[in-house]
């Protein structure tokens, strides 16, 4: 069980208000991702839930019970830190067993749970090594192991993949998703990487300057971003924003169109421009188009086989049903 409810939570460091009043409910078993640019307060929010920071005002309920003044250890939450925070002088076995030893479980039970966690995470061969002798991915797994043996109500992940290289990150992303499927425990995951958010989350919470910009499933955010910030943050490459006469034609201050919703043609189209850079990924090709008269750069995604070079003039046609319209305040409207 792990339903977490934040009620008008605020946090200030001195005079600086990092989190203005914020309400949020995380349902039991949900994989929730807090995403936002660095410094948006997402880690602070996670630390408030963990109890490592004290709230300035507001309250937190965990499973319906008020946990506002409950110390971190008693909240039944387990956290995986960005630096993994493994205990360097203990073996992997002792690291994983540490929370159980603190909970004064008997040795047989500790051994059983540690072995169980180690086999789930493929760490059985490394139990007698120290963290310093492990690779980044293995340390990450030890940190997760230390969290799962406690059988917590919810897992908190604080940017756990940011210290790993790109290939390993994709692998660990999958492993964490699989772990969530298997354990079906509430997970709260903080990241600045919108790809991680899109691929793993049941529910994404987009934060900016401590304010929740939008909450929803990955596809909801992708299809119907509430405002310019969410529209620009979710999706890769970024959505193109166009202001001026082209937007006014549709009765909007700004219109947005994703790179994948623009068709490319050599001969005809609504807009035209000159290719500045083309990025070939094999499966896709991204063109950065200049001199369109709409915006400084328009990014377009085309099939991997389409090939234009620097300096080629090409024509672009947006999919009319995929154009997002935003008003003067930056809010999206239909």
């Amino acid at each position: 069980m792990g339903r977490i409810q934040l009620k008008s939570v605020t946090k200030s460091f001195g005079d600086v208000e990092v989190i203005p009043p914020l309400d949020l409910t995380i349902e039991d078993g949900e994989f929730t991702v807090f995403v936002g640019p660095s410094g948006c307060g997402k880690s602070t929010l996670l630390r408030l839930i963990a109890g490592l920071e004290d709230m300035t005002s507001g309250s937190i309920d965990i499973d319906g019970a008020d946990a506002t003044d409950v110390p971190p250890a008693k909240r039944g939450l387990a956290m995986v830190f960005q630096s993994y925070a493994l205990y360097p002088h203990m073996t992997v076995r002792k690291n994983i067993a540490f929370p159980l030893r603190m909970a004064k479980l008997d040795q047989a039970e500790i051994d059983k749970r540690v072995e169980g966690a180690a086999s789930v995470l493929n760490l059985t061969d490394y139990l007698d090594r120290r963290p310093g002798q492990l690779s980044g991915g293995q340390r990450q797994r030890v940190a997760i192991g230390r969290a799962i043996v406690r059988e917590p109500a919810a897992f908190l992940f604080d940017e756990p993949l940011s210290n790993l290289d790109a290939a390993l990150r994709v692998g660990m992303r999958l492993e964490i998703s699989e772990l969530h499927e298997r354990l079906a425990t509430t997970m709260i995951y903080v990241t600045h990487d919108q790809v991680e958010a899109m691929t793993m989350a049941d529910k994404i919470v987009v934060l900016q300057a401590g304010v929740i910009e939008q909450v929803g499933s990955p596809l909801e955010l992708y299809r119907t971003p509430r405002n310019l910030f969410v529209a620009g943050f979710i999706g890769s490459p970024k959505m193109n924003f166009i202001e001026g006469p082209e937007a006014e034609k549709l009765g909007a201050q700004t219109i947005g169109i994703r790179p994948e919703h623009i068709a490319v043609s050599e001969s005809e189209g609504d807009w035209s421009g000159v290719v500045s850079v083309s990025e070939h990924l094999g499966s896709d090709t991204f063109f950065h188009v200049h001199e369109t008269g709409l915006a400084e750069t328009i990014t377009v995604r085309a099939d991997g086989e389409v090939s234009f070079r620097h300096g080629d003039r090409i024509h672009l046609t947006p999919r009319s049903d995929a154009i997002h319209r935003f008003d003067a305040k930056g809010l999206r409207f239909e």
Binding site: A50, L52, A73, F81, A85, L86, Y87, M102, R146, R150
Partner: protein
């Protein structure tokens, strides 16, 4: 070619320093060894010829030898225990964010800048004097009979004085070690359900292991040879005669250079035994 060239030039340029340091060490060592096999009484006939191991036998069979070894070890051990324990506590205290942190840290380091002779005199005359000392006043304030520290509790007094001098060193080294502890580790331990004392025992103490080793090794080297503190306070009386002080007495008070030199060789051997012993116990911390 160039590297080989520059390497030999480098050797050439280092040579003066190496030769000087080697001479600095070898000349006194050789002279000590040389005199230790001689009967040499500067005021009673001078060089009276070779005597083999006579000096060594006499030094050890003296009734004050084993008490001196014991006094040395008690002072070294006592100071180490006090400075390491108090040093850890002070370092953790100073690591807390507080107002005037910079000034407080400088004040804590201050005793280290005071010369041993001066600090021992200050302790002797201002604190431990049985009539006018601050401690005597304090005792009288509570209606107790003042203690004449240096004669009644001579060993305790000297351990106190030396600990006061070396506490800043220990605190400084341990403070830098504590500051390098990753705060996420402590937070992880807190989430794992470890209360304050267990966090100290399982996380902070192991993290400090290496720093404690360094403090113990360096302090032992210096504490084995403390002299000024004893010279200006008890003058070696009341059971505070250490090995170093005994050598001084043999050479300068008894004017027996040969006997003192033999003692010096014993001191070298003792220092090495202690060093090996310490390396064995705590040295493995340095590898980890």
């Amino acid at each position: 070619m160039a590297t080989q060239h520059s390497r030999s030039v480098a050797r050439l340029m280092m040579a003066p320093a190496v030769v000087l340091l080697l001479g600095w060490m070898l000349v006194p060592l050789t002279m000590t060894l040389y005199f230790s096999f001689k009967k040499y009484l500067p005021l009673r006939g001078g060089d009276l010829g070779w005597v083999g191991f006579d000096n060594y036998v006499r030094f050890v069979s003296s009734s004050s030898f084993w008490p001196a070894v014991q006094a040395t070890l008690v002072i070294v051990g006592g100071v180490l225990v006090i400075t390491v324990i108090l040093g850890i506590l002070l370092a953790m205290l100073l690591d807390q964010p507080m107002w005037g942190q910079g000034v407080v840290r400088i004040l804590v380091i201050a005793p280290f800048f005071v010369m041993p002779t001066v600090s021992a005199l200050v302790w002797k005359n201002m604190f431990m004097d049985p009539v006018n000392g601050l401690l005597a006043h304090l005792w009288r304030f509570f209606g107790a009979e003042p203690i004449s520290w240096l004669s009644e509790a001579s060993m305790t007094s000297i351990v106190m004085i030396v600990s006061w001098q070396w506490l800043p060193f220990a605190t400084l080294i341990l403070l830098t070690a504590i500051q390098s502890l990753d705060s996420e580790q402590l937070e992880a331990a807190e989430m794992d359900g470890a209360p304050v004392l267990k966090r100290f025992y399982h996380i902070i103490l192991p993290h400090l292991g290496r720093a404690i080793t360094i403090v113990i090794l360096i302090q032992t080297i210096f504490l084995l040879s403390i002299f000024a503190e004893i010279f200006v306070t008890t003058g070696g009386a009341f059971g505070t005669r250490t090995l170093t002080y005994m050598i001084f007495q043999r050479v300068l008070e008894s004017q027996n250079v040969g006997l003192g030199s033999a003692g010096g060789v014993y001191a070298i051997i003792l220092a090495n035994i202690v060093a090996i012993f310490l390396m064995r116990i705590v040295g493995k911390n340095l590898d980890a």
